[in-house]
Assembly symmetry: D2
Homo-oligomer: 432 residues x 4
């Protein structure tokens, strides 16, 4: 039977790396033998394991080694990665290496090269001495693609070590439950935002329409003004409902009519979209004075990097909404990594959306901490399954959560909406 | 075919009384003929209808008339109610009148008598010139019970009339959705509480363990101190988790251990219950200094009317918890109507519980406004199905909601926890 | 104050048309006076109302009349519709008429013309004597667009009249609850499918990935073979998981690995997509023998009309997946109305998807009956809010539901998977 | 600092015992040193660890050792358990040992004694050479109670070892998801039921009202007749809805009236309860011919062990319903362990109930396999948190699931309802 020796190091017991790796072997019908195991006797000591893995044929062994590598178990035998030229556009060569979102290196000509822009379920292209992930659709014939097998090294994520940090972490992220002390959770997220902000890093918000419907629009505007929103990713609905509520500034009556905007638009919704389309862009509509407050207004005025992605259920859509999904993914990656690809966002906050949240999770490296906030447990659970140790799932009311966040992070005067704006804002009225 | 003429009056078109009544007839296989219909031409004009209803036999007609009466359609022919002596303890005579939670009168010796303590699915007993609802289990042989048929008059609930009040009402209660402006909802509930408080009426809280787990304990204590909690109904878990968190004052570590108390208790939970049992009652335990803060402490100290009802899944239970369900229902009714039966509560707030919420809804007259707050849509929907026009269902985070309520209703100094208490309180720490 | 007289006819009491219309007036700050009301005295008699509506200004009156028209209340005064030339591409002239999904006519030169392809939230274009709805994005400058106001007539939907049909309808659709007799619901849907099938009409399925994950793939294939699937609309995930499970025919082990395919792909998922992309299309991949069973295989082989729409979270996507959302909507409308626009589908079944279900609901005329099946109450509720009286929401297990449907509709021999196919099918194995 | 040495043996790596134990130490602020670690090199080899644990004071060390023992880590130093006489009725001495649901032994006079009736969160009483768990409320002064500390040995649960069994287990239980192949899950539960049945062991069903409402009543009756239901635990609602549907045999119309019985009763519901109360018991009512089919009828006629527990929201309740919660718990334990305490049930199936499911989970030893079926993910998740490796959570439609179970387990003739019964059964009608 074919076999291979793998190694695993770090805090492999209490970060569950060793048991997870052994499970993969058994689950895939392989067998293992632990050749060496050096367990750190104290909590902060690292451990080390060498394990021989056998499978009934080469294909199965390859699959097994790939699975183990997702947990950070690398081949002991060091060799160069195999590079194969792509034979068609838009697809990898059969047998390509499918990436994880963990830190990855590949070995070319005897030296280890860091893979740039780690993202899961991509391939890795090697070009002019550099390696980076590449989406299937972006492959061009002739590119040199890394094949599954030797010469790939992945660094596992480990749990925080120190008692205190560990406890806070465990508390916040391990159990996703609606029954947690919410004031504490607000503080944790606010603390992280402040830290990222002070470090000069960017914060990416991924938002669903609940942000508008729950009345959190003015609070999110305060956070934009306060410098806590550099990237923004959402769908047509968020922009349409936001703009609509500011265009029809005296429309409290209309909102009260049914409580919330219907799933599919009503009069004002459709008419608002139509008017913006008539102007051709958000900027043109703002310059024409169509609206002068709200999330879209603040994103434009504060120079945030935003992308609104279309979906098949959209009305309109609004002119700045990108209808082509491949293009949306490209724009999203650009926001995540920065225009020059060197300015990775420092924090990602997903509020009230599953579709856009999963899309973002797919593109995000495991090193970026993620907070996912929704009133629906299923949404949070699904989003948190990507397994980053740095993710935090919070089941709570999106409206009240953002409100408390704005109160924790921005001074009274930033939260206060300008006079001109106030005159047009239904939401601010309902709160005074 | 047997037939009967019924009458219906009030705002029978826009409160949907007429269409609902006609639906009942068709749904039960009857037929109708509208004999007279006098529709108010303007919005504030009342309408009046006389309708002849036919069914294939007397039993079916009786059922039909009963169903129609639930909507406020009364028999035109006026006669005395039939009274029958109960033949056994604990059950009504066959053919008894099963009550609604609407205002009801019965006719005895030619005059209409108001039924006291309106409650749904009870019987009505007539004794010494007075009529009141009575639970099945409380029937004693010999009591004079009202039979279904003539001599019963029910007053339907109608929607608010005035445009503004109507809009607010429609907005808040008609659609139960997690996507509503939450700040507005907080204000509406706070406003109603203030109004009831100022009118000298009592407020009943019905609470689930989420109140403790989401960190809302201190906020609820502030509301007790502020005079916004006169009645309290919950289960063993609420009291146990509340007391436990204050008995083990330095127990931040323990809470952090798993994030939240497990479904079934852990060490501290069981030990806390055991200690209170050793003292025999909440009061004795408080006097012995076992705990000096928290919901239970404040309820006892502020003389609130409370009942903790046991359930089959309870640990312990705590000594003040009532294990017999019939006794719990009796105590709950006493809280709702006041010790002397003449001091009906003015508002009922159900937070984070389905079991106790439904139990309360079953006992409550339709005239008492009810707010039902839960993070789970199914719970709110189920609770709101009792159909009172004055109910409001709010899907939101229980912890943040109560926190905002306390901030809206109580001054800073009331919310501030006393020094002595603070030393023991994990929750207050986590918020400073 | 400006006013207008509207008329309303049909079963306006028990279909709630009259109360709904009066509510709209009050909710929008208008006032009304009922000029004439002729109520049918018996259940099957139609009624008729003339109502004068006033609002404080013309704009408000216009809004009010538009809202009332959604319920089927038309202006009494008959005049031609106003037609305005579109001044820009991709947007309507300000003041355009925004359509409902009810039967609609417009009046041009004194005669009423049926609007083709009724769809909500579109505009209506008049060209060469015919009128049809048009999506905002499809507008070209110069088109003659119907403006809001006179000359538009909408026919309201009414509840079924006869007692029996009414009862069945009420039972199935009025309360959406997971606690309904499920065998009965299966029968109702199967009965409707049989009826539509025998009438020679097409059935459109809109499906989410749960169809594959719950093991309903083979049952859906049986329904395709049996002639119960003519249209199919889904996302990339459905096709990818379906093909993957048949490409890796011996892959029971892989499935057992985690129970279900992870949200974002694992090895086989990504590799399957890559291989299909290498072949360029489903047909080419089938011809190359990559897979020979499954939903996609049967759709292709049985000539069903399908469209797979991309989304921003997709892996790949597969080559036949349409990435541009505007194009997906166009294709979907083509499936709904038939290639020549004259063959409207007879039934629409939405299983396990919210995104694609809402997209379909947006395009569907109210006259097409819709069944919406999901294990999640929120999904069903959201989809049913479009308010067609012919819709049925069913909260149940998608896998078991489709299985029972296949058993009810297709004979044993159609359900039996072919020998060749069986050898490759994991799912069939797990069921023998 | 005080310290103690503990030992842990078995498959401590891949059953996560070692990492879980080390986590407990860190989470509670202790430190550890691994003195010996002997890891089995192959999958089937057992491992062994000796770990020195330190904490800052004795109390903290005691807590730590208690927590570790929940995972099967026992003190190395062997000593007799400390026994203390209970000083009051209804509560343990302070410092008592709080039990787990794992196999437990205590050491008295140098020999290890098996603790009978393992149940979590109880105490252990030692009497006449035998040890058994005892609920807090059942303690009588003078009983000899085991104290936390030395002389207690717990055996951890381990995952199944063999590859195949392991895979099946992993597949079925590890991920609770609504998106699993449902036919496979039906087969797994049916297989387990058959196995338990053939081994002569009893099966306990714990059911919520959804069993009746989803139309699964007749299928459950078939399972009772087929010998697959020996114990039954439910609330008042299940019995009331079941009996009502059979008492009013021609009541299809009534059911159709609203789709399903309202949360709180309607006419028939209340009248059915009243009639049964008039007869005094289920048996008396059956003998009087009030109903002759349904779940309650079959339970009585087939001599199943049942208990119906009251709750605070009940109508009536029915005469056999036990209103005192302490008594319900006693009866439930009797069903679980058998009349003589020596006939532990072999399988427990919880369908459509959270309250009664948790109550049962609290009383059940970890060795009894449990299947928990509900359409609501939150219910299943909460019930499965008790962490038995033998539990299976299934998110599916209760009605269709029980139907498929009955088809898999009982022959056609057993499923066929008797002529007499059929005449009265609405549900059977709706299925022909």
């Amino acid at each position: 039977m074919p076999s291979e020796v793998i190694t695993l190091e770090g805090h492999i017991i209490d970060s569950r790396l060793l048991p997870n790796v052994l499970d993969e072997v058994i689950d895939h019908g392989g067998t293992y033998e632990i050749l060496d195991l050096n367990i750190g006797v104290k909590h902060d000591d690292a451990s080390f394991a060498r394990i021989k893995v056998e499978a009934e044929d080469d294909e199965r062994l390859l699959l097994l080694l790939d699975r183990m590598q997702q947990h950070g178990a690398n081949r002991e035998k060091v060799d160069d990665a195999q590079l194969t030229e792509a034979d068609v556009d838009g697809a990898f060569p059969t047998g390509f290496y499918s990436s994880t979102n963990l830190d990855t290196e590949i070995r070319v000509d005897g030296s280890w090269i860091q893979v740039e822009h780690t993202e899961m379920d991509c391939g890795v292209v090697f070009d002019s001495g550099r390696a980076r992930t590449i989406a299937m659709a972006d492959v061009q014939a002739g590119m040199r693609i890394v094949m599954a097998g030797h010469g790939i090294r992945v660094t596992p994520l480990e749990k925080p070590r120190s008692g205190e940090e560990r406890q806070a972490f465990e508390f916040m992220s391990s159990d996703i439950s609606s029954e947690k002390p919410k004031a504490l959770l607000v503080e944790q997220v606010a603390g992280k935002m402040r830290e990222v902000h002070e470090a000069g890093k960017r914060i990416l918000w991924v938002a669903g329409p609940a942000v508008v419907h729950t009345g959190a629009g003015p609070d999110l505007c305060a956070l934009i003004r306060g410098g806590y929103v550099q990237g923004f990713f959402a769908g047509n609905g968020v922009a349409a409902h936001d703009i609509e509520s500011y265009m029809f500034g005296t429309s409290l009556g209309v909102y009260l009519e049914k409580g919330i905007p219907a799933e599919h638009g009503h009069e004002h919704h459709i008419r608002a979209i139509n008017e913006i389309r008539r102007h051709g862009s958000f900027e043109a509509a703002i310059e024409a004075g169509l609206f002068s407050d709200g999330i879209v207004y603040h994103l434009v005025k504060h120079g945030a990097d935003y992308v609104f992605g279309g979906s098949v259920r959209d009305d309109g859509p609004l002119p700045d909404v990108v209808s082509d999904m491949a293009e949306v993914q490209r724009r999203l990656r650009e926001i995540i990594w920065g225009k020059d690809g060197e300015d990775l966002i420092g924090y990602c906050i997903v509020v009230g959306t599953m579709l856009h949240g999963i899309a973002t999770g797919n593109c995000l490296p495991a090193s970026v901490p993620l907070a996912c906030v929704d009133i629906n447990q299923a949404t949070v659970t699904k989003l948190m399954d990507r397994g980053s140790f740095q993710s935090m799932g919070i089941i709570t009311d999106v409206g009240l959560f953002i409100r408390e966040l704005a109160e924790a992070l921005t001074p009274e005067e930033v939260r206060a909406v300008s006079d001109e704006a106030e005159a047009r804002t239904w939401a601010s009225r309902t709160r005074t």
